[in-house]
């Protein structure tokens, strides 16, 4: 399986969608789609995320890898497929500004990892709190690039339904590791590939 993860990772980094499709087709002979996600897609994306942290992988490669995986997995595990992971009613948004790349990467990686996530796009404080509360969201992921947007999360959190978990990410949180506590979030993701692990941790703590 390690060899398959490496091959899949190389296909993603080379943006070779055809090779990625062939690896999936070959794996599905003896694996279920969800096993492929858990044993190949998630580790490959984690390795690519680690590569980005260490400077060997470009953010653009991470983004394109997530997109390729998202499309690929949608073909074998459509969004409402019951074989997808047990769902937590999750939503993702970028608060206040137009810098959507970070949110887009996390969204792709989560979907490629078998999660179903509602994409709220760009929201403001009032719109976000109203929608997340009405839809009974359990895990809310908020991405920001600008510091003022990150600080506005302080206004969001007190207005959310009790028990809703908030995970934040984006440049301001990378440069100040205590900022997520300052705004009242439950956890932060240092990079997109951490999102799966962080969601699992947060929900394990909640249950």
């Amino acid at each position: 399986m390690t060899q398959r993860v490496e091959q899949f990772e190389q296909a993603l980094l080379a943006l070779d969608q055809l090779a990625a499709e062939e690896i999936l087709a070959s794996a599905l002979k003896d694996k279920s789609p969800m096993e492929f996600v858990e044993q190949v897609v998630v580790p490959a994306l984690e390795r690519i995320g680690d590569g980005w942290e260490q400077g060997g992988v470009a953010l653009s490669q991470l983004y394109m890898s997530g997109r390729i995986c998202e499309k690929l997995i949608d073909t074998v595990l459509p969004p409402k497929d019951s074989r997808r992971k047990e769902q937590h009613n999750m939503a993702i948004t970028v608060l206040e500004d137009y810098h959507v790349l970070g949110k887009r990467i996390v969204y792709s990686i989560l979907r490629a990892s078998g999660f179903t996530v509602k994409d709220y796009g760009r929201t403001d404080v009032a719109g976000l709190t109203q929608r997340a509360n009405e839809e009974g969201v359990k895990v809310l992921l908020i991405s920001t690039l600008m510091l003022p947007s990150a600080l506005r999360i302080k206004e969001v959190i007190p207005k959310l339904n009790d028990g809703m978990k908030v995970i934040v990410g984006g440049a301001p949180f990378r440069f100040d590791p205590d900022l997520y506590k300052e705004v009242g979030a439950d956890m932060m993701c240092k990079n997109a590939s951490e999102a799966v692990e962080v969601i699992n941790k947060v929900m394990a703590g909640a249950s």
């Binding site: 400077g55 470009a58 653009s60 394109m64 440069f175 100040d176």
Partner: protein, 347 residues
């Protein structure tokens, strides 16, 4: 020479020549704090060149730092192209919805005429007024977003990445248009009185691009563009990392490089020795909560690592100090630079 007091410009030129001036030069890259100083909203402040000039002069006097900043706000260039700028009360004006909605729009968008643009004209007027006020006492820093990085605001980062990979012809066309604009905008600022241009190029950082990608794209674009800018340039990759490509950056013809707080200043200084002056790398986000003791320790540490031998300018890591950073911290940074930054460095 080390015992006499230099002007800010002499201090900066000496360090750029990789010699030790009288003390480490300090660039406090404050853009919005002038509004606080004048009791204006950020939007009101940037509406008139006179406000920005007054703000910059007052901040230089207050913080005793070594430059005037000609930057109004990063999306001013996008505004000139017809894009939207969104003002907030407590932060820099932000670029709004991208004006290149689909890749085909690249064929029809045209660069604005720098001389006819109202917003750019106001910024040029401010630089001109700053020059009249300070003459050759202090450098005035103009800013031009690199042709390679501007599309993040022109079309959105996700769509821009897809363009790079999927539609190279349209990517090249956009670069051609952006290069023309960047050169015209940078040279207009120099003509107005700017001493140097900050070539703002975050997409080239290794946080965003690998070195291989950079060499094929941002590097070639920077070489072509910087060669046509009629004055010195400082390359800034915002808060991104650039240590693995400093040797390449030096070959683009630039003289200064901004470094991230994620990189070790001593390592960066060694890699740049004799080739590039290092600018950085105080953490602007964390700076909001620094105590006086932390401030002094961090500044002192940076000076110890990068100060000896010249070739170093102290600044924040991003090129713009957040609105939330209190005056006491900025005064503390200045105090520490004046205390510990005297040459010869004795730390």
């Amino acid at each position: 020479m080390t015992q006499t007091t230099m002007t800010s410009l002499q201090r900066v030129l000496t360090t750029l020549g990789h010699q030790e001036p009288d003390r480490v030069p300090l660039f406090l890259l404050v853009t919005m704090h002038g509004a606080k100083e004048l009791g204006l909203s950020i939007k009101e402040y940037f509406s008139k060149a006179e406000n920005v000039v007054e703000g910059q002069l007052r901040m230089r006097a207050k913080y005793r730092h070594d430059c005037l900043n000609g930057l109004f706000y990063a999306p001013i260039e996008v505004e000139a192209w017809g894009g939207e700028v969104i003002y907030v009360e407590n932060g820099p004006p932000n670029s709004g919805r991208p004006f290149i909605r689909k890749p085909e729009d690249i064929k029809t968008v045209e660069p604005p005429n720098v001389k006819e643009s109202k917003c750019l004209g106001e910024a040029l007027k401010a630089i001109n007024m700053m020059k009249e006020k300070v003459g050759d006492d202090a450098p005035i820093i103009g800013v031009a977003v690199s042709p390679f990085s501007l599309p993040v605001m022109q079309m959105g980062f996700d769509k821009y990445i897809e363009l790079m990979y999927e539609q190279p012809d349209l990517f090249n066309l956009l670069m051609k248009k952006n290069e023309e604009f960047c050169v015209a905008w940078a040279n207009a600022q120099l003509e107005a009185g700017a001493t140097a241009i900050c070539y703002f190029d975050p997409v080239s950082s290794v946080t965003i691009s690998t070195r291989d990608m950079y060499l094929k794209t941002g590097f070639e674009i920077a070489k072509r563009t910087i060669a046509r800018i009629n004055g010195p340039t400082a390359t800034h990759v915002a808060s991104g990392r650039c240590l693995p490509i400093v040797g390449d950056i030096a070959q683009t013809g630039t003289v200064v490089v901004g470094t991230s707080v994620d990189e070790d200043l001593a390592e960066m200084k060694a890699a740049c020795k004799g080739k590039l002056t290092v600018l950085g790398n105080l953490n602007g986000i964390e700076m909001r909560n620094w105590t006086p003791e932390q401030t002094e320790t961090i500044v002192k540490d940076a000076i110890a690592k990068a100060g000896p031998g010249g070739g170093y300018i102290m600044a924040d890591n991003h090129g713009e100090i957040p609105w939330q950073v209190p005056e006491e911290v900025l005064l503390g940074i200045s105090e520490a630079v004046h205390k510990w930054g005297r040459y010869p460095i004795e730390i």
